[in-house]
């Protein structure tokens, strides 16, 4: 089933991409796409990367090996990501060639890849580049040093955590260190402590968050004050705080106070952080968001509350189905569905005509219900003027049919329907015909299939 869903998801993503990409890009062959990674235009490089990422073509390896050294730095980085998609056995020779080459970033990225695959001899190359490479090379290399616990590399990363470095490099180095050192090491704590008063506020916030999470509670008042003054800093340093065994109450209060300034996708993880250290404060802060001014935060707040045992019961969620706020209704319906309560299904079906800007979300919520009732409205949404709505409905319909009709085999690619196409009516008619026949077989037969 996982594989099946993944295939559906990939296909959906591919269709979405095809819809967004310019028509000229679709017909290009692999060689041309690889060449575009070296184009002068950054947008062209980015589009070529997205297209190649979807294809995952093994033939890309020799093409990249031949051309990657001539690309600009971000093109090289794209190339490295694409090579990482391929099985290591197929790319080992290319990595070995790159690590012995003359391009600093490629030497470092190849060393990192070889290191992760059991070739520790390359740690020195990577460590030297991290310490002494040009700033843009070091910054880009930071995206490729994940999962390396070699002490020489960790020492080089630690050397990046110091005043006078570009702040972004120091913060990224610290993020790698906190992962590899399971929260703290005395050496990293000592290096980071020197940044606790750094004039670069981003760097200072990261340093203080690292130290507090590592148990250095003397820095808690400074961190709390900084977060109070600049709540926006929390979103970039929260991952450090996720490692904290205990958090000072002042820091917890500052996090709770920052929550109304969160981006929607920050609400859930921040709520989890609060929940670990002060469950009552997490619930209070999330409840405040439900009635707060920022409408975009209400739905994620609701979902976060629903994930906390006892914070929101089904009765309260059912009451929210009657809310005048469509986002809240949808979030309540989706949350109830996740709790095995389908009472939100008719509400979602009813609100579809007035969902306006939330129609794609409504289609997504509807597609989450594995119910026959959801199928007719989803079939209607396949012809919605908004392509995002059509895509959500199509994805949901495929899930529902696969799950409710598990003894049937489907090939949705041959269904004749493409949400990105302008001529959709024949495909929709075929899908309706299938559903009608499936329904009549079910009602006419005592034995089903």
């Amino acid at each position: 089933m996982t594989g099946r869903r993944m295939t559906g998801g990939l296909r959906a993503a591919a269709l979405a991409l095809m819809a967004l990409a310019p028509a000229a890009l679709r017909g290009q062959d692999l060689q041309a796409l690889v060449d575009q990674l070296g184009a002068a235009d950054a947008t062209a490089r980015s589009r070529a990367y997205s297209a190649l990422l979807q294809r995952r073509a093994p033939e890309i390896v020799p093409l990249l090996a031949k051309r990657i050294a001539s690309f600009p730095l971000d093109g090289q980085s794209y190339g490295v990501h694409l090579l990482q998609q391929q099985p290591f056995d197929h790319t080992r020779a290319t990595w070995s060639q790159l690590v012995d080459g003359a391009v600093p970033f490629l030497r470092g990225a190849a060393a990192a890849m070889l290191l992760r695959n059991g070739e520790p001899a390359h740690a020195g190359v990577l460590a030297a580049l991290l310490q002494d490479g040009a700033a843009d090379v070091r910054q880009t290399l930071m995206n490729h040093v994940w999962g390396i616990a070699d002490e020489r590399v960790l020492a080089a990363l630690r050397a990046c955590v110091r005043a006078g470095q570009p702040g972004a490099i120091a913060v990224q180095a610290l993020q790698h260190l906190v992962q590899q050192e399971n929260g703290r090491s005395d050496a990293t704590v000592a290096a980071t402590a020197l940044l606790a008063d750094d004039p670069d506020h981003n760097l200072r916030a990261a340093a203080l968050a690292y130290l507090v999470a590592a148990g250095e509670n003397a820095h808690a008042p400074a961190l709390a004050a900084l977060l109070r003054a600049e709540p926006g800093q929390l979103w970039s340093v929260r991952t450090f705080l996720d490692h904290a065994a205990r958090l000072d109450p002042a820091v917890v209060d500052a996090i709770a106070a920052a929550l109304p300034r969160a981006r929607p996708f920050d609400v859930g993880p921040t709520a989890q952080l609060l929940q670990r250290h002060a469950p009552d404060k997490a619930v209070a802060a999330l409840r405040a968001l439900l009635t707060g001014d920022n409408a975009e935060l209400r739905a994620p707040a609701l979902e976060a509350l629903a994930a906390i045992t006892g914070a929101l019961d089904q009765k309260q969620l059912r009451e929210l189905l009657d809310s005048s706020d469509v986002s809240q209704q949808l979030a309540a319906a989706a949350t109830l569905r996740r709790m095995d309560d389908p009472s939100g299904l008719p509400v979602v079906i009813t609100l579809l005509p007035r969902a306006r800007g939330k129609k794609a979300e409504a289609a997504r919520v509807l597609g989450g219900f594995r119910s026959r009732q959801a199928v007719p409205p989803l079939l209607d949404l396949l012809d919605d003027p908004d392509p995002a709505v059509r895509q959500a409905a199509w994805t949901g319909l495929q899930q529902i049919w696969r799950d409710l009709l598990p003894y049937r085999r489907f090939d949705f690619a041959r269904a004749g329907y493409d949400p990105a196409a302008t001529a959709r009516a024949p495909g929709i008619a075929a899908l309706r015909a299938f559903w009608e026949r499936a329904g009549s077989e079910r009602s006419n037969s005592d034995s089903g299939r």
Binding site: L405, P406, F412, A433, F434, S447, R449
Partner: protein
């Protein structure tokens, strides 16, 4: 209780407390259970704080031996760092404590004799964790050696065994318990959670093990829950967190006045709808109403932590256990379950019995669909008869006192008999209608996006099966197109009634979780595969050392499997 909890939650919490107090009051009168020796929590820090910090405020003279079983999971959990930090934290309380280190698998067990120089122990723990191995180890033999070494140590004597994985390698638990008790060594355990009535090793009796040992691993001394139900891809006994450690370790704590602490890595606490099955009703975002655990209920359903002999004595007198064993044996004889109880019952006496093979209905290895359907119908009828019989017994017994655990196991058996009946009826309908239609010459061409389920020219060889998980309950299956169609509906409704009643009572316990780890079967036709002869492996000359080899512990797949984790858990960090 959270300040904002609804009144219903408060009432439920109070009821839980009352149940917990009641369960606690029984501890003095009844044989010890795993609950009476197991501490709450799943962290590394708390057990170290409790054991190293010692009891009471006065700094007493103590000898504490920490016995470490250096496994990859323990190393990954950062035990060496946690231990070093705890020793530092409790430097004052350890002022008059001689600290020693034992290492499981090393000769004589003692690596650092008890000493006032605690840093030596910290350094040695760190060094030993560098060489963690995944081999089977007989912790009980090493604990007896440790008991002998510690017998004349001054002051209060205690031992902390830190072993996440080897409590299931038994040689003589009782002898070990007696040796530790005789030396007055309070034995604490830091270990991982077992799975409920774990059947893993019982299912693989021929697996290599250290000489003189038996592989067990269940939370109780006896596997008291039927395993290997027909058409279940993996026994729920092997994927359901028990709430308690393997019996042997709980037994040591109970016999010596020690405590059991359980460790779980945080990722093991996440909800997962289906372990080896497919979930039809969500995309991994289920907020199961039963995902949170009811600690007093889990405690009430704990296994006994007395000796294996005493466990048999107690179980033999338990009417629910006897009813469950009778139904299990009958189900095995009917081929409804692949295992038979390793227990012989005579009146109110239960004794160990060698495992008898269960009947094999041989339903899946051929494509004789008509014959298979007839066999399945007969087995389904037998499942109904056994289920009805057990139901009558339970209705009579429910008024009698009995072990809550064995009552839960008996009711679980009742539900599984109905689930197996449903799966057999599905199988029969699949054989009678679905499978032949796949190969019929006049079969209607499906409308796109549906395509033929088999490719042209394929010929059937047998029937394969998998499971659709029951995490969302039985009701959602009413909307699913299944073989048997409308005729199956009454049986699904009956299963739903039994399932719902069981989950209402046991949903937030290990038994409720076990039931949800079973599934509705999904069948498909299998085709002849090409057989490739495996390459012959020729031993290189001189490569055979001829000496004894400690067998490596295989990776168990499933929740928590995959190398670094500790297994499923009923509790969070």
């Amino acid at each position: 209780v959270p300040r904002l909890a609804a009144p219903a939650l408060l009432a439920s919490w109070l009821a839980g407390c009352v149940a917990g107090c009641f369960a606690g009051s029984l501890v003095g009168q009844e044989p010890p259970t795993a609950a009476s020796v197991t501490e709450p929590g799943r962290s590394l820090a708390r057990p170290l704080d409790v054991v190293l910090g010692g009891a009471g405020s006065a700094v007493a003279e103590r000898t504490l031996l920490v016995v470490v079983d250096p496994s990859p999971a323990l190393a990954a959990a950062g035990f060496a760092d946690a231990f070093a930090a705890a020793v530092q934290r409790h430097a004052a309380a350890l002022g008059r404590t001689r600290l020693g280190l034992g290492v499981i698998g090393s000769k004589g067990c003692i690596a650092v004799p008890p000493t006032a120089e605690h840093q030596k122990v910290v350094d040695e723990v760190r060094a030993r964790m560098q060489h963690a191995s995944g081999e089977f180890q007989n912790v009980y033999a090493d604990l007896r050696a440790a008991a002998a070494a510690l017998a004349n140590a001054p002051g209060e004597r205690s031992l902390l065994l830190v072993s996440l994985g080897n409590g299931d390698v038994e040689d003589d638990v009782e002898q070990t318990a007696q040796a530790l008790a005789k030396a007055k060594i309070a034995t604490h355990l830091l270990t991982s959670e077992a799975t409920l009535a774990d059947s893993y090793w019982a299912r693989m009796p021929q697996h290599d093990r250290p000489r003189g040992t038996t592989l067990t691993g269940a939370d109780g001394a006896v596997i008291d829950l039927p395993w290997g139900w027909l058409f279940q891809i993996t026994p729920a006994n092997e994927t359901t967190a028990a709430g308690f450690p393997v019996w042997g370790l709980a037994r040591l704590a109970a016999a010596t006045g020690g405590r059991v602490f359980q460790f779980a890595s945080a990722k093991d606490t996440a909800h997962q709808c289906a372990v080896f099955a497919t979930c039809l009703f969500c995309s991994g975002d289920h907020l199961s109403p039963d995902a949170s655990w009811n600690e007093p209920l889990i405690a009430q359903l704990a296994p006994l932590a007395c000796s294996r002999a005493d466990t048999f004595t107690a179980l033999g007198k338990d009417p629910f256990f006897r009813a469950m064993v009778d139904a299990w044996r009958a189900a095995a004889e009917a081929g409804l379950v692949h295992s038979a109880p390793a227990v012989r019952l005579s009146g109110t006496v239960a004794t160990p019995d060698r495992p008898h093979p269960a009947r094999d209905l041989d339903l899946t290895d051929s494509a004789s669909f008509d014959r298979q359907a007839r066999r399945a119908d007969e087995a389904a009828a037998r499942a109904q008869a056994l289920g009805d019989q057990l139901q009558l017994q339970l209705e009579r017994l429910d008024r009698d006192p009995g072990s809550p655990r064995e009552k839960a196991a008996a009711h679980y058996t009742r539900v599984l008999l109905q689930l197996t009946r449903v799966n057999l009826l599905l199988f029969a309908a699949f054989c009678r209608e679905t499978a032949p239609a796949l190969f019929a010459k006049d079969a209607p061409v499906p409308l796109l996006p549906e395509i033929p389920a088999v490719d042209e020219g394929q010929r059937p060889a047998g029937i394969g099966y998998g499971n659709f998980g029951l995490c969302h309950g039985v009701k959602p299956f009413f909307d699913v197109e299944l073989p048997g169609g409308k005729a199956l509906r009454p049986e699904l409704e009956r299963l739903d009634a039994l399932f719902t009643a069981f989950e209402e009572r046991y949903g937030r316990s290990q038994f409720g979780s076990a039931l949800r780890h079973n599934g509705i079967a999904r069948f498909w036709v299998t085709f002849p595969g090409s057989v490739t002869k495996p390459p012959r492996v020729r031993p290189k000359s001189g490569s055979d050392t001829g000496g004894p080899v400690t067998p490596a512990r295989p990776q168990r797949t499933g929740p928590g499997g995959g190398g670094g984790a500790t297994g499923p858990t009923t509790g969070g960090g």
